[in-house]
Amino acid sequence: MVLTESEEKYIKKELGREPNSLEYGMLDIMFSEHCSYKSSRPVLGLFPTEGEKIILGPGDDAGLVEITDELALAVGIESHNHPSAIEPYGGAGTGIGGILRDIISMGAMPIALLDSLRFGYLEDQKSRYLFEHVVKGISDYGNRVGIPTVGGEVEFDDNFQLNPLVNVMCAGLVAKKDIVRGIAPDVGDLFLLMGGRTGRDGIHGVTFASEELTTSSEIEDRPAVQIGDPFTKKMVLEASLEIMEQIPVSGVKDLGGGGLTCCISELAAKCDNGAQVDLGAIPLREEGMTPYEIMLSESQERMVFVIKPAQVEAVMEICDKYELPAAVIGEVTASGRMIVKDAEEIIADLPAHLLADPPVVERESREIEKNHGKIEVEHPPAEEALLKILSSQNIASKRWVYRQYDHEVQIRTIVKPGDDAAVLRVDEETAVALSVDCNSIHTKLDPYHGGAGSLAEALRNVVSMGATPICVVDCLNFGNPEKPEVFWQFSQCVQGMADLARKFNTPVISGNVSFYNETEGVTVNPSPVVGVVGVVEIPHIRTMEFKNEGDKIIVLGNTYPELDGSEYYREVHQLVHGDAPRIRMDEELKSAESILELLNSNLASAITAIHDSSAGGIGIALSEMALKSGIGAEVDLNKAPGTNTNEFETLLAESHGRYIITVTPDKVEEVLDKIKAPASVVGEVKGDKLVIKNLLDLDLDKLQRAYHGVIEEFMA
């Protein structure tokens, strides 16, 4: 039980009596942080959520944004951190399953998955175990359902050793006229439950996700982890889409955290209606289940359709075709109450709003004092530093991961994993760019600038593909919000993200908050995982690799003396210290606008490659451009725009707002004239070495050896 004393008091007052044990269980899950967002809701109000292209903001299963005159994209993001810590294979798999159902619930066909994963370093046996099985869980589930996993990110750091972070973003395509909502507007409509049977798994999954983990969690909480079945999910996906294509249903909602209790009460409460559920009608997986187990089970692969009595036969026929259990389990009532009946006996009777809208909790917030002391370090030769960063687990190639994911199915993937963002075509002319990013180190050092910075990185990744960012989703992974310092980090982070989202006119349309990421006294680095969606006309798509020898290399955006919080400090000096790079919103926007304006001008064909500078700075960005193409470059970083920086800082600092582009030599002056941000030519694409004047001179072979095979050294 996680209900607090004051919540119990509130419930008794609203209800006018003591709830029975089933009602207590139902209220307990609905009042959990996971279902209610009771701590985070007031802060999340800071996000901009509306815009010209936004069809549906936060509050339903997923957000909806317009991408063409006919098409909308449903976008959502989910965490499955706690289950993945206990049972990595099943936890990660059901994380995919959950977000897929959210997208299907909008009437959309899921077209892309992206994963943001965080583990301890791979030298640690437990971290290898978690990494191996989380990736296998995603692979086995996503591949089987036929949804391509097209992108993502992986971070390794000690603080994630016992509490890995597993976040999944999903995007789905739906014709605007076919959008469906999670509502039960009409009294007399029926609830039809279809898909997997209800079993004893995942009971109290949401309450377990709303507490800290301990070393005994692995044994004690295993029953709270759901069991996934991708094959049944594939059938549920096909059947659901067929139902929605053929029958004008009133509403749809998936069963995720909180099971039937959450699904039915939210459907009803959204429309100020009530609901009656007939326990005996629910298809069960095992005999002898108690009402408590049935109403709280988080068994996977289940959907509820809200339909007219006359539509039942047609829906059942489609379920039969796919050999899926289905049954009418209740109806929409005008009572405003959620009633559960066992035969003729009423065994639970609660106001739907009491379940669906628990009161918010005002959390105390206390600023963490900063340690401003400077630590002096001796810089190694730049060559040595760059190779060390390039061969670090955090920066090295993630091919071991993405090759296990089917990233081609559905034949939309124009730009494959390994670039800044994935690009998928949605029709003959249009594609969407998707990226998911987070910088947990910057956020730890400064939650405002780190939160905004994580969003900035995702925005840059989308812009680098030539796409205009249109909306944001976020998955905020923090520690225990009852600790004032954690709540301060959370609030600051949201404020930073909200400010930049407003600046870019990219509303936040969906999201997830995962608190209590603490195990055995270790709190994870605050990790605001940000997904950005961009839209691009297919001819405007650009990729990062160098294209032609002789192309000029332009650095766009200012570098500042901001080595603190860099991969350089983490990997070379094992140092996380000082101030995070600052987010300068005007400069960030100017850089992005310059890129997009170039692609929309008559100079577009002169722009041959685009890449942003983020983790690892310009040094890593240039290395990646060379590595992906097999062509080298000669560069002088003294020429790059900068404020009070030396060459070494320009190479490795992670200042925001910067891009590297290559331009055909004949158009360089015109391109420079058009760029509104500080920009200059720093060199050209050339040969088979990466040469940076005064700093390094490296054969591409040597870069290749550093960058590839790092993860593979630890993993079979």
Binding site: K136, S139, D140, N143, R144, V145, G146, D229, P230, F231, K234, M235, Y322, E323, Y402, R403, Q404, Y405, D406, H407, E408, V409, Q410, I411, T413, I414, K416, R425, I538, A716
Partner: protein, 216 residues
Amino acid sequence: MKVGVIRFPGSNCDRDVYHALELAGGEPEYVWWKENDFLHMDAVVIPGGFSYGDYLRAGAIAAITPAIEGIKKLVAEEKPVLGICNGAQILSEVGLVPGVFTVNENPKFNCQWTQLKVKTNRTPFTRSFEKDQLIKMPVAHAEGRYYNPDLDLLQDQDQIVLKFHGENPNGSLEGITGVCDESGLVCAVMPHPERASESILGSSDGLNFFKGMINY
């Protein structure tokens, strides 16, 4: 030309194959796995995916469904049959092509683009290629390692259709990743032609498989 696209529970490349067949100028039509008679089709494709979740063994359960009876009737009428990925596994499971596709040498799922060599152009699917022509198509499977104890017979009867060129990503015998029956009309390939049917996706080499089939 009417081409059936078989849909098993768990097929997930059915829509992609349908799209590629349209691009190639064919008239695709879905065939549900419960049907056992579709002789009005001029050819069929068994698309990739995870029929029955690949539970038990890839292709094992699909091999005993009514659709397989229907396919055998088409084979008897000498109409072209193409199995892609899971479809290839099903054809070998049924015994319509020789050999087996078993667990990859490194038993993980593996999705990557590959270079391939066309070893015979006597099949309807490969007839627009030169023998030994190099082409590019992606693979995506965990059970794709080809094995056949009678390699000599396979070679003598010209039943090797595709071989990996350069990297052999799953440890297949001699890099073989596409085979056909003696007639050449039933063909099983692990790489995905439908994912390589438009240059915007990385290659259009795969479209020839469908064009060849349709113009047969």
